[in-house]
């Protein structure tokens, strides 16, 4: 029978264990500190998080979801008169709950900007609860845990008594980087082993990363992605989405407005474009009217708030690459909308920073 145990006095055993722990820790640090193992959207999230701790203060910050990824900061700068440090701080969607937290986190780390450009579409108050919350889907949680500063998130979760989410945050923080990036690491390993020379990132991810690094913005959807399927997709989407004014979403939006309003930060609200099919649905369900009432109440309460007209806008379905993001043609229109909104703001309020 095999021996089961021993009391050998070799001291090399604990030492080898400790050496293995050190080696694993070192490799984890390498994995964690490089963007090599991030996919496209993760790279964007990582860059956004990095921005909180680096560089000079921003004059203008674009706050919005992935629909704002395709807005060049330079276009905004020009439209506002030029000479401004504009940061496109948009992030991939992670629930409406994340918006006030992103603002709190931003203000915890950086001085208040001279202007906040905020994307506020009808879906912010008109989606079902699951889509509003950060904790429903793993992808939302992962993004929120990465990009929202820990202190801000903990404060919010304690206040909301979201104990399970707090536990998941702890778990996320304790998980080594190799667990977070396992998908990409394994995909790269597969490429290196079996398909040497092939780009391990898929074309969309490559486009996001290169766009982000070279110009600070990128298209989420390309023309190739735009097809007849979009219409079908939209129909399917409409069948699945429960759009009604939602109290929790409204509370979160109020929280966002309150943070900016009470600190006297000028805010320009822009509605990101919606495909006409979805727009119609929001209109029928009363979400657009509800949104307008809310925005007007903010304008009344805080003089620093401005909502760019029109209150509700949409683009033809053909100008979308998929159901949420514009394609190249649609993006030209979308960029023009942002330019117009900025120019309108300057006309109405004056140059940014001239308060």
């Amino acid at each position: 029978m095999a021996r089961s145990s021993t009391t050998s006095s070799s001291e090399a055993r604990p030492r080898a264990g400790l050496a293995a722990v050190a080696l694993c820790a070192l490799l984890e640090m390498v994995i964690g500190s490089t963007q090599l193992f991030l996919n496209g959207v993760e790279t964007v999230v990582d860059i956004k998080r990095g921005h909180l701790d680096a560089g000079e203060p921003d004059d203008v910050v674009i706050f919005g979801d992935s629909r704002f990824f395709s807005i060049p900061a330079e276009a905004v700068n020009e439209a506002l008169g030029g000479g401004l440090r504009v940061c496109n701080f948009s992030w991939p969607y992670m629930g409406v709950e994340a918006d006030p937290l992103m603002l709190e986190g931003y203000l915890d780390h950086r001085p208040a900007p001279k202007l906040l450009i905020v994307g506020f579409g009808p879906e912010f108050i008109g989606l079902e609860e699951a889509r509003i919350r950060i904790d429903t889907w793993q992808v939302n949680r992962e993004r929120a845990f990465t990009v929202i500063p820990t202190r801000t998130l903990v404060r919010f979760l304690v206040e909301q008594r979201q104990w399970h989410m707090l536990y998941m945050l702890l778990e996320h923080r304790l998980m080594p980087p190799s667990v977070h990036h396992r998908k990409v690491i394994l995909s790269r390993l597969r490429t290196w082993l079996w398909d040497w020379g092939r780009d391990p990132l898929d074309p969309a991810d490559r486009r996001y990363i290169e766009g982000m690094r070279t110009q600070g913005w990128f298209l989420m959807a390309t023309d190739e992605e735009a097809s007849e399927e979009v219409a079908v997709h939209l129909e399917t989407y409409l069948g699945r989405v429960d759009v009604h004014p939602n109290a929790h979403a409204r509370a979160m939006a109020e929280r966002f407005a309150q943070i900016a309003g009470e600190r006297g930060i000028p805010v320009l609200v822009i509605e990101p474009p919606t495909p006409e099919a979805i727009h119609r649905l929001y209109e029928e369900r009363g979400v657009l009217a509800e949104r307008e009432r809310l925005l007007r109440s903010w304008e009344d309460r805080w003089p620093t708030f401005r909502v760019a007209p029109p209150y509700a806008r949409h683009l033809p379905n053909e100008q979308f690459g998929e159901m949420a993001h514009t394609n190249a043609a649609g993006n030209e229109v979308w960029i023009d909308m942002v330019r117009e909104a900025c120019a309108w703001y300057v006309r109405e309020v004056g140059p940014v920073g001239a308060r």
Binding site: R3, T6, R13, P14, G17, A20, C24, R182, L186
Partner: protein, 465 residues
């Protein structure tokens, strides 16, 4: 709270430092409290059951020890056995027997109107009732004096590393460790850490990655071809082994870092040469329990050996789960032992050639895998479907090859390590490798877990028993 969870890591990060700074008495009290917290986190309502079983066996042990008259001693023993078996019978078997009786009567045309209660099975009840019962039986047999320390006895029953899935500890072996001071040494911590790590590797990297394959095939065995059903059972053989022996390794490792010695529960069972050898290596603590408290009292090897074997194995099967396929599995294993004894008898070659040894091991592994079909199916009906597919449908498709390759890939690293252990005759052979080799191996195992492990896999398989 499972061993491969953050909750347990936090739990251990609190318990272990406390354990290091407390004196022995304080250590035992703290471990008892920690064990109750550990158990209570499954379902606090069943803590009462655990405490009741402990209290009754403690008092029965004292009474048996004090009593000189044999009849009275026996009465106390029966009280302990009856209470433990009642707990087990009610929570684990009531619904099973009620349903079986109902079916039997219905087949006879009688509507008895019996209904099941939908009783929720308290985790670990099969393990701790057997462990607790062994204490009163040993005291009755005068193999062990009754302990006068209720809290220490409670710790023996509830010791968290092995509370919910064994190994089943014998009081004659473990109470002495609880009552005397333990030494925490660097060597012990190192050995324990390796066992914990090795157990996690088996569980998270192998067992939990094989689980989906098994689950998919055995959820509907009638829909898969014969080769696929067979691949599924090989996958299950490695899954259950890695799951259960992984748990036992972690339990032993946790004991080891605190200075306790928990005996080996799996002794490289897939290297067994024959069925008798196999049961001396698989779930050893249960095999020994059944041998000492069931097989031997039935007559053991002295008389009616073959009958005793079948009864013991049949009841062993029933211990695993309240379903007829478990009973059938036990009876099948018992029958294999009987056939082996009849055919092989005393002709077992003591020093076989390598070829013979390998052949014996392969045969032995395969009869066990065959038996596992009975163990894994959800019902005897599914067993029939699985056998029908094996007998009639031999379609070899890509999914069969793919799943076969996956089973091979996941099992291979462990097989190589265990082969090394077997050849060196040392369970800790890997832990005794040269430093550089261990650094590389540990690092590879660590990344196998983080990159390839099923980190949110299913619970330990034996929790359901």
């Amino acid at each position: 709270m499972v061993f491969n969870s953050l909750e347990f890591a936090v739990f251990l990060a609190i318990v272990f430092p406390l354990y290091l700074v407390l004196p022995r008495r304080g250590q035992n009290l703290m471990l008892l409290a920690a064990s109750y917290v550990f158990y209570g986190m499954w379902d606090w309502r069943f803590l009462g059951l655990l405490i009741a079983s402990t209290a009754i066996d403690f008092l029965c042990g004292l009474a048996i020890d004090r009593e000189q008259r044999e009849a009275h001693r026996r009465r106390w023993l029966w009280l302990s056995v009856a209470v433990n078996l009642s707990f087990l019978g009610f929570f684990k078997y009531f619904d099973f027997f009620a349903e079986s009786l109902q079916r039997l009567l219905a087949a006879l045309g009688i509507d008895a109107g019996l209904s099941t209660l939908g009783i929720y099975l308290p985790v670990g009840i099969s393990f701790y009732t057997f462990q607790s019962m062994s204490y009163t039986i040993d005291v009755y047999r005068r193999q062990l004096p009754a302990t006068r320390h209720p809290l220490d006895f409670a710790l023996y029953v509830a010791f968290f590393p092995q509370l919910v899935a064994g190994p089943i500890l014998r009081a004659s072996y473990f109470m002495a460790q609880i009552l005397s001071p333990r030494r925490v040494t660097m060597e012990g911590v190192s050995e324990g850490a390796w066992l914990i790590f090795f157990g996690l590797f088996k569980k998270v990297f192998i067992a939990d990655n094989l689980a989906p394959i098994v689950e998919r095939i055995y959820a509907a065995p009638g829909e898969f071809s014969g080769p696929h059903v067979i691949i599924g059972i090989y996958a299950f053989a490695w899954q259950i082994y890695c799951d259960f022996s992984g748990y036992s390794d972690i339990a032993r490792g946790l004991g080891k870092i605190m200075g306790f010695d928990i005996r080996l529960n799996f002794n490289l069972p897939y290297f067994a040469r024959d069925p008798t050898d196999f049961w001396n290596r698989w779930h050893i603590s249960l095999s020994l329990w059944l041998r000492d408290y069931l097989f031997n009292p039935l007559g053991g090897n002295r008389r009616r050996t073959l009958r005793n074997l079948v009864i013991t194995m049949g009841l062993g099967g029933l211990w695993h789960g309240a379903a007829w396929h478990f009973v059938a599995w036990g009876l099948f294993c018992g029958s294999v032992l009987v056939v082996y004894r009849l055919v092989q008898g005393e002709r077992r070659v003591k020093d076989p050639s390598r070829r013979r040894l390998v052949t014996e091991m392969i045969i032995n592994f395969n009869w066990f895998c065959l038996s596992l079909i009975l163990f894994r199916v959800a019902s005897l009906g599914d067993f029939g479907l699985a056998m029908r597919q094996i007998a009639t449908d031999w379609a070899f498709t890509w999914p069969v090859v793919r799943d076969g390759l996956l089973v091979f890939a996941y099992a291979l690293p462990l097989f190589v390590m265990e082969l090394f252990m077997f050849r060196t005759g040392d369970h800790m052979a890997v832990w005794r490798l040269p430093g550089w080799a261990r650094v590389l191996l540990y690092t590879a195992m660590y990344f196998a877990i983080t990159l390839g492990g099923a980190l949110y896999g299913p619970q330990f398989y034996y929790f359901q028993f």
